[in-house]
């Protein structure tokens, strides 16, 4: 089975995010592998470990700055890694085009399974996975918290996703795309030996042939969010209940 994992480079969530004159100050950002993509890589590697004959290839679209996270995917157990040379400055739709073009080119068609993180930790839109599936013409389930092969290698998966107050169970026929939600697995820690080994492996390059379409949405006027309210400090819980009642904010 051919398994593709699409990974992204994002600022560490602990990095200080500051905006100056409507532009994000990127100088103090520490860039890492998107946390949701770690679940995707881990799941791909587990599938390969549990079933013979699979190849896991990690893809990241952008440029050479992606090599570090691709090496991390290799250290976690991916077989191959590939930088997708392309313009990823556009919106999700444009980025999905770049990835779709690269996957088609690399595989000469579509892989059996595409794994992605549920969303990137920087833009939090969660659009690319389903758009990529749409462009590849394959089925997809987003934000998956459990994935099982039916064992027979018949190209079927059972996946689960969380909904309000419960979870949905889906039967999924390959080729397909699955995006990973927190809880799907616990990504392994990479040891020094794996990191050293990954450093020696080659990283391929795929160029996208077709130009990306124009962005369908444009993001403007970036600003730091102010959420401050004026807080009334209340001395006791009893007083709080009286104040809530008085202000009519307490229907009971």
């Amino acid at each position: 089975m051919e398994i593709a994992v699409c990974i992204n480079l994002v600022p560490d969530t602990a990095s200080p995010v500051t905006v100056r004159d409507g532009v994000l100050d990127e100088t103090r950002l520490n860039m890492v592998l998107n946390p949701y993509d770690e679940y995707a890589v881990e799941e791909a590697v587990r599938l390969r470990e549990n079933g013979a004959g699979s190849t896991v290839t990690a893809f990241s679209a952008g440029g050479g700055e992606r090599r570090d996270i691709l090496r991390k995917a290799l250290a976690m157990g991916a077989d191959r890694a590939c930088v997708v040379e392309g313009d990823v400055s556009g919106d999700s739709f444009a980025v999905a085009h770049v990835l779709a073009g690269a996957l088609r080119r690399h595989y000469g068609g579509v892989p059996d399974l595409v794994l992605c993180g549920r969303e990137s930790a920087d833009c939090n839109r969660g659009q690319v996975p389903l758009m990529l599936a749409g462009l590849l013409g394959i089925a997809a389930v987003s934000a998956v918290t459990a994935l099982a092969t039916d064992g027979g290698g018949d190209g079927r998966l059972t996946v689960e996703r969380e909904i309000e107050g419960g979870r949905e169970v889906y039967a999924l026929v390959l080729p397909a795309l699955v995006s990973a939600e927190k809880g799907l697995n616990i990504p392994r820690k990479t040891n020094m030996r794996a990191v050293m080994h990954a450093r020696k492996q080659p990283i391929d390059t795929v160029e996208t042939v077709t130009p990306s379409p124009e962005s369908r949405v444009v993001y403007e006027e970036m600003a730091t969010v102010e959420r401050e309210r004026s807080c009334t400090v209340v001395e006791s819980p009893e007083e709080l209940v009286r104040m809530l009642l008085r202000s009519g904010r307490f229907s009971g």
């Binding site: 749409g134 969380e162 909904i163 309000e164 969010v225 309210r229 400090v233 709080l240």
Partner: protein, 327 residues
């Protein structure tokens, strides 16, 4: 005049509060000058529309095929895409629920519409709609300018206070030719598993009592459960409480979890990380209980009590029960 279609989501025949919020948000914006004509689409029909839930006026198209009572992603995407084309809608509005986040990109690919995810909308002085969203776990806001003729907006939860709403004159109409085709869907929803013993979901509840690391563990959350029960609300959790394994992931509130919009939000032992605050931006009154007077949560709260969760919460519950008992 903008032609707007609102997708109304139901689960097991009950209209979702988040969908009602989307409808009522648009009706409020019309009152504030937005030039728009609103209609709705209700896949699955269910128990119909309860009186007085939807404000303002408009027609809700009902697709009664029983197949739509549950979420079949591809069937729903086909249905909604067709409805957008047939009603000539310029904009489709969906609540940013588990269903909405999965469905919106599928429809976007079918109708070539720009997709504005997890956004809030408002009306400018010229009567035009504008949308904003946040990046970096809620710490940075951006204006979103769609460039396509048709646009899909997935709205973050925000409740309109009922006093601001006009009485409804909403009609329902059966959608012609909306029988779902047979055949095998891929993916195919095979089963919905409900969490046992859970009374109310955090996105539906009007009161949410949420706990963080300062709750101290499962025993502390039992106090929160009890308070939530007294208020008829639901219990939520911060990311740290979920990471500690004290609560399940589907109760996690924040950018990496779920957005809630209750009228009353009580944060217990939650410090107030930016990504958590992003998930409560639609909340009405915010109450914070924390032993650290410098915790960031106090800066976004309306009322604050400095103290330990285990001391304050039981007293709060007792006070709540005594006033509710008097009613």
């Amino acid at each position: 005049m903008m032609n707007v279609l609102v997708l109304l989501e139901q689960r097991e025949g009950v209209l979702k509060a988040a969908s009602v919020d989307v409808w009522n948000t648009l009706q409020r914006l019309i009152d504030e000058g937005l030039g728009a004509h609103v209609s709705g689409l209700l896949p699955g029909g269910g128990n119909g529309l309860p009186e007085g839930l939807l404000s303002g006026s408009g027609i809700v198209h009902v697709a009664p095929d029983p197949l739509y009572r549950q979420y079949q992603p591809e069937a729903w995407a086909d249905l909604v895409a067709d409805a957008v084309r047939e009603t000539g809608a310029d904009a489709l509005f969906i609540a940013s629920t588990a269903l909405g986040r999965d469905l919106a990109p599928r429809i976007s690919m079918r109708i070539g519409a720009g997709l504005v995810s997890d956004c809030t909308v408002d009306v400018d002085p010229g009567g035009s709609l504008f949308a904003s969203t946040t990046f970096h776990a809620g710490s940075v806001s951006v204006r979103v300018r769609p460039k396509t003729a048709k646009v899909i907006y997935a709205l973050r939860s925000a409740r309109t206070p009922s006093g601001k709403l006009r009485a409804g004159a909403v009609e329902t109409k059966l959608l012609e030719g909306s029988r779902a085709p047979g055949g095998q869907w891929n993916p195919l929803l095979t089963k919905i598993v409900r969490h046992a013993g859970r009374k109310k979901d955090i996105t539906e509840a009007d009161v949410v009592v949420a706990g963080g690391r300062g709750t101290g563990g499962r025993a502390g959350f039992a106090l929160l459960e009890s308070l939530a029960e007294a208020l008829g609300g639901a219990v939520g959790a911060s990311r740290s409480a979920v990471d500690e394994g004290w609560r399940p992931h589907d109760e996690q509130i924040g950018q990496t979890g779920r957005s809630v919009a209750p009228s009353l939000y009580i944060a217990c032992g939650i410090s107030g990380a930016v990504q958590h605050l992003a998930g409560i931006s639609g909340a009405g009154t915010i109450v914070a209980v924390n032993r650290d007077p410098d915790a960031p949560i106090f800066r976004v709260a309306d009322y604050g009590i400095v103290g330990d969760v285990e001391e304050v919460v039981p007293r709060l519950e007792k006070a709540v029960r005594s006033v509710l008992g008097e009613k």
